[in-house]
Symmetry: C2
Subunit: 360 residues, 2 copies
């Protein structure tokens, strides 16, 4: 059974998603704020996809009118950097109708909780299911508006429903099209399964000297030096402990890399720094030329701060994560959003049991 999808966001991920879904025979509308993007896609009637997925995906329409995009959609999929979640979330709420799924793809950390708070604040009582992915399905870049290159499609990623009791709706709608998504117990699991929160801010901030000296380097093979890798592994231990506090057995970053990328030369005892040098897909990935990148401006407030919020409620200490948040604020002071604090997530004052009930 094909469904109608409103893709909110015509950036790299949104165009890849819209094109791919259309190629799979789904009915797809694309919303973007930029009329240039919308016009380019409208002119050609869809999106050309190259790379790991190939073909021309015809869209129902592209539009700058969110209400039009969302009307009659079964799934409203928000494919935007998390810094835009709140603004776009507010805009889409009035158009939400009973039975719709709002899928945050990805949610960074706690995006679903943040969206739920917007719904409550707006007094919206529509019977909607919020869904969230832990990461983006694709590695992808737009070539020109309407043409995207998909370098890779992840084999395995996570999704969860808020409330968790609506998981079967996500399975039916998302899982039937993309079996790559594994349904998780709840949105705390997808939030804590955020590897970008580990791999983006700390290595970027700890390469500040190179970045500000104008040196080029390869992000993974050169940027994750032994001590930087050791530090990230300690952050990751805090993430794993946070998961445990909520009853989950999480996979470490090192184990993820080993499972995803081992082509025979990796050892389970390799350090993160050593593993990063062995990932073929990472070899050519260059580093940012500034600290003012989404690796910091987005992943600190919308990922690490969200993890701090979950840690606060669970009473888990996260000294390395805290240090990275402070480092970012100290270096870029005044330039970072406050981010996903307990207050911003609408979970301030909850106990761990309260929160687990709230998401279940």
């Amino acid at each position: 059974m094909h469904r109608t999808w409103a893709i909110i966001g015509g950036g790299n991920g949104g165009q890849a998603m819209a094109g791919h879904l259309a190629l799979l025979g789904e009915r797809v509308r694309l919303f973007d704020v930029f009329s240039d993007t919308v016009n380019a896609i409208s002119r050609q009637g869809g999106i050309k996809v190259t790379g790991a997925v190939n073909g021309f995906g015809p869209l129902e329409f592209a539009t700058t009118d969110m209400g039009q995009a969302m009307e009659g959609a079964d799934v409203v999929m928000i494919v935007l950097p998390s810094i835009y979640h709140e603004e776009m979330g507010r805009n889409c709420i009035e158009h939400l109708r009973d039975g719709q799924i709002v899928f945050l793809h990805p949610e960074a950390s706690c995006g679903a909780l943040a969206f739920k708070k917007l719904l409550v604040e707006a007094g919206n009582t529509a019977d909607v299911t919020i869904g969230a992915a832990n990461t983006l399905l694709y590695s992808t870049r737009i070539i020109t508006p309407g043409t995207v290159d998909i370098f890779g499609v992840k084999h395995s990623l996570y999704m969860a429903a808020l409330p968790a009791s609506r998981g079967t709706r996500l399975e039916e709608a998302i899982g039937s099209v993309f079996p790559n998504f594994t349904l998780c117990p709840n949105v705390l699991y997808t939030s804590i399964s955020n590897n970008n929160a580990m791999m983006h801010p700390a290595p970027t901030l700890l390469n500040v000297a190179r970045i500000e000296a104008g040196q080029d380097y390869f992000y993974y093979t050169e940027g994750i030096t032994p001590s930087i890798g050791a530090f990230v592994e300690q952050m990751d231990d805090e993430r794993i402990a946070l998961g445990e506090a909520y009853g989950f057995i999480m996979k470490t970053l090192r184990k993820s890399y080993f499972d995803m990328y081992n082509s025979g030369d990796m050892s389970e005892s390799d350090s993160l720094s050593a593993l990063c040098k062995k990932v073929v897909a990472y070899r050519e990935i260059k580093a940012q030329k500034t600290l003012r990148t989404r690796y910091v401006l987005e992943d600190v407030p919308y990922s690490l701060v969200a993890l701090q919020s979950l840690a606060k409620i669970a009473g888990v200490s996260t000294p390395c994560i805290d240090a990275v948040v402070q480092l970012a604020h100290g270096m870029l002071h005044g330039e970072l959003d406050e981010g996903r604090t307990c207050e911003a997530l609408g979970i301030a004052g909850m106990t761990k049991a309260d929160l687990l009930r709230y998401v279940s």
Copy 2:
């Protein structure tokens, strides 16, 4: 009136101090644990000093016997990295006699408190005055054992007595020979006036990517990039606030640099990063080639942790200082001493008022 000085430590600072004091006509003995150093100095009968101070300073003797060095000394001056303070402190306690001054030069942060705790623990009731300097008087390096080059002598540095009521004894003994030392209200002031705590650990740790890539760089002119400088300034704001909490008006790092080094091209509105590029004396100072340097292994546990301890008692928050301590532990985990915690300083459980009474 000339005095008898026992210099404990025959490293760069100890040899410079011993040679300089002897040149000023004082009676000087030098203790070191290394017999090679002691023998070389004994053979030539003293220390040759070159550079900003020049001449041959004849010593009474050099020895590996601490009791011999200390017997009859008016001032026992400990000129050692702070990581050796505890061990050497314990060794010297049994030889301390009524009326002696023990001067920690420098104390890093809270070295005098740490020494006082050793005295109490040892049950030593000799009537001694503990003195402490905030930094080393010299920039200096040993050329060969018995020959030191003094690049520079600081015009202005701080000392304090523990208890503070013994300040006049320091003035008489230390101040009469070295007017460069300004007597401060108490040892909290010298502890908080520790610029190395700001300028050593964070810039070293934040240059980890360069260091571990084997790149050479100049510590001050290249290592203090704009964002690293911004971060250090925020750490320094915490230090200033800590001083305020104890009733002091401290000088910021930037103001110190401006006052010490302005040769007309500095502006009071320059950032720390900009100022560091303008300090002529800093131009040729190369950076460390490893994180395992005293800039981290010493200055984190013996300076930053000590400041954290004072902050804890005063109820002052130090998020940037905390972040640097955590960064060091995360990168070098297991390799750092616990350092000068409240417990190690013998001040755990004190209120701010208690501590101020304790040092006064």
